[in-house]
C-alpha cells in the first residue's frame, strides 16, 4: 500500500516540477498557461489520491469522511482550474494579445 502511495506522490511531484519548468521556459503568455493549467490539475489529482490512500490505511468513519472531503477538493480543483485557464486565455484574446511565432523571435 505504501509503495502505491509513494509512487502517486512522486508522480504528482514530477508533474508539478514539469509544470514549474514549463511556466519558466515557455516563450509567451498562451503557451505558459498550457503547463500551468493542465499539469497542475493532474499533479493535484495524483497527490491527493496518494494522500487519500495513505489516509485509508485504517478504515473507520472518521478517515472515510476525511477521504470524501479530499475527493471533493480534487473534484473542485479539476472543475475550477481549467475554467480559470480558459478565462485567462479568453481575456488575453479579447485584449488583443498576439500569439508567439518563430518569425517574431528572429527579427
Amino acid at each position: 500500500m505504501n509503495i502505491i502511495v509513494i509512487a502517486l506522490l512522486v508522480f504528482g511531484l514530477f508533474f508539478f516540477l514539469a509544470g514549474g519548468i514549463g511556466i519558466m521556459r515557455m516563450p509567451d503568455f498562451y503557451s505558459r498557461l498550457h503547463p500551468a493549467g493542465k499539469l497542475d490539475t493532474l499533479a493535484t489529482l495524483a497527490m491527493v489520491m496518494g494522500l487519500v490512500l495513505y489516509n485509508l490505511n485504517e478504515i473507520s468513519l472518521g478517515t472515510i469522511l476525511v477521504s470524501i472531503k479530499m475527493f471533493l477538493i480534487v473534484f473542485f480543483v479539476s472543475l475550477a482550474s481549467p475554467t480559470a485557464t480558459h478565462t485567462i486565455v479568453d481575456a488575453g484574446m479579447r485584449a488583443g494579445l498576439r500569439h508567439w511565432t518563430k518569425k517574431k523571435q528572429r527579427s
Binding site: F76, L79, A80, T83, H86, T87, D90, R94
Partner: protein
C-alpha cells in the same frame, strides 16, 4: 534618484533586521507573549466556554468588545464606500438592444427612455457577451461555495474559521456571479437596499446579543447569562452565544464585501462594470 531610493530601502531594511535580533526565540516559554494571559487561555478555555477551538473563544468571548468594534469598522467601511462612490445621476446616453433582431440602439437624448421588457433590453458600451463555459461552471460552483461559507460560519467554534472568513467566502460567491454573468444580474438578484439592511443587521445581532446579556443581568457580552433563554444547553451556552455572534459578523461582512465590490467596479452607478 534610484540610487537614493536604493540607499533608503537598504538602510530601512538593515534597521528592521537589526531590530529582529531583539526578538524572543521561536516558541520561547519566557517571552512576554506567553507569560501573561496565554497560559490561562490554553488551560481554562474549555472549562469556561466549552468551545473546542480556543482561538474563537478568545476572539469572540474574552475579547468580545474588540471583535464587536471590528465589525463596526467593517460596517463603517461599507457605508463610507457607499457615500463616497454612489452616483445617483443618470447617464447622458443610453444603449439598448432590440432583442428580436439583436440590433443595438444608441439613444443620445437624455430624457427619452425606452421601455425595458421583451422587446428592448439594457446594453452597455463596453458590453462583451458572457462566456458560456464560465457561466456554466460558475453556475455549478456558486451553490457549493455558499454551502461551504455557511459551513465555515457554523463550525467557527469547532474548527478554524468563523464569521469573518465565512462572510468573505459568501461575498466572493456573489462577486463570482457578477464576474461570470454581468453586474446587472447580481444587482437584480441582490438589491442594494437588502445589502445595506444586512450590513446593519449583522452589527445589530452582535450588539443586540451583548445588550440581551445586559438585560438578563450580566455584563455586556457575558453569554453565560443567556442560559434561561435556551433551556437544556446550560453547559455550552457560551459556545452557542459565540455562534450567534459569528452569524452576525458573517452577515455584516458578506453584505459589506458585495456592497464595496458593486460600488467600486461600476464607479457607483450600478449599471455596468466587470
Amino acid at each position: 534618484m534610484r540610487l537614493l531610493a536604493f540607499i533608503i530601502v537598504t538602510l530601512t531594511g538593515a534597521f528592521l533586521l537589526y531590530g529582529t535580533t531583539e526578538f524572543p526565540d521561536w516558541g520561547d516559554p519566557n517571552s512576554p507573549a506567553s507569560l501573561h494571559v496565554s497560559n490561562y487561555y490554553i488551560e481554562k478555555t474549555y472549562e469556561d466556554t466549552h468551545a473546542p477551538n480556543f482561538v474563537t473563544a478568545v476572539v469572540t468571548d474574552y475579547r468580545g468588545f474588540d471583535t464587536m468594534f471590528e465589525t463596526a469598522v467593517i460596517f463603517t467601511a461599507g457605508i463610507g464606500c457607499f457615500l463616497l462612490l454612489r452616483d445617483f445621476r443618470g447617464k447622458k446616453e443610453h444603449y439598448y438592444q432590440h432583442i428580436p433582431s439583436g440590433v443595438i440602439l444608441h439613444v443620445k437624448d437624455e430624457k427619452k427612455l425606452l421601455p425595458i421588457g421583451k422587446e428592448f433590453g439594457y446594453m452597455d458600451k463596453e458590453w462583451v457577451p458572457p462566456d458560456l463555459i464560465n457561466k456554466t461552471v460558475c453556475r455549478i460552483l456558486i451553490p457549493f461555495i455558499q454551502i461551504y461559507a455557511l459551513y465555515v460560519v457554523a463550525h467557527g467554534d469547532y474548527s478554524p474559521g468563523g464569521g469573518f472568513q465565512g462572510g468573505v467566502i459568501f461575498g466572493s460567491s456573489l462577486i463570482l456571479l457578477a464576474i461570470s454573468y454581468d453586474l446587472k444580474t447580481l444587482v437584480e438578484r441582490v438589491k442594494e437596499k437588502l445589502l445595506g439592511i444586512f450590513a446593519a443587521l449583522g452589527v445589530l445581532i452582535y450588539a443586540g446579543t451583548g445588550a440581551l446579556c445586559l438585560l438578563m443581568g450580566g455584563n455586556f457580552l457575558d453569554y453565560g447569562k443567556l442560559a434561561p433563554l435556551i433551556p437544556g444547553h446550560s453547559g455550552h451556552i457560551r459556545a452557542l452565544g459565540m455562534l450567534v455572534v459569528e452569524i452576525g459578523v458573517g452577515i455584516a461582512v458578506m453584505a459589506v464585501m458585495t456592497l464595496i465590490y458593486i460600488n467600486i467596479v461600476s464607479e457607483g452607478r450600478h449599471d455596468e462594470g466587470l
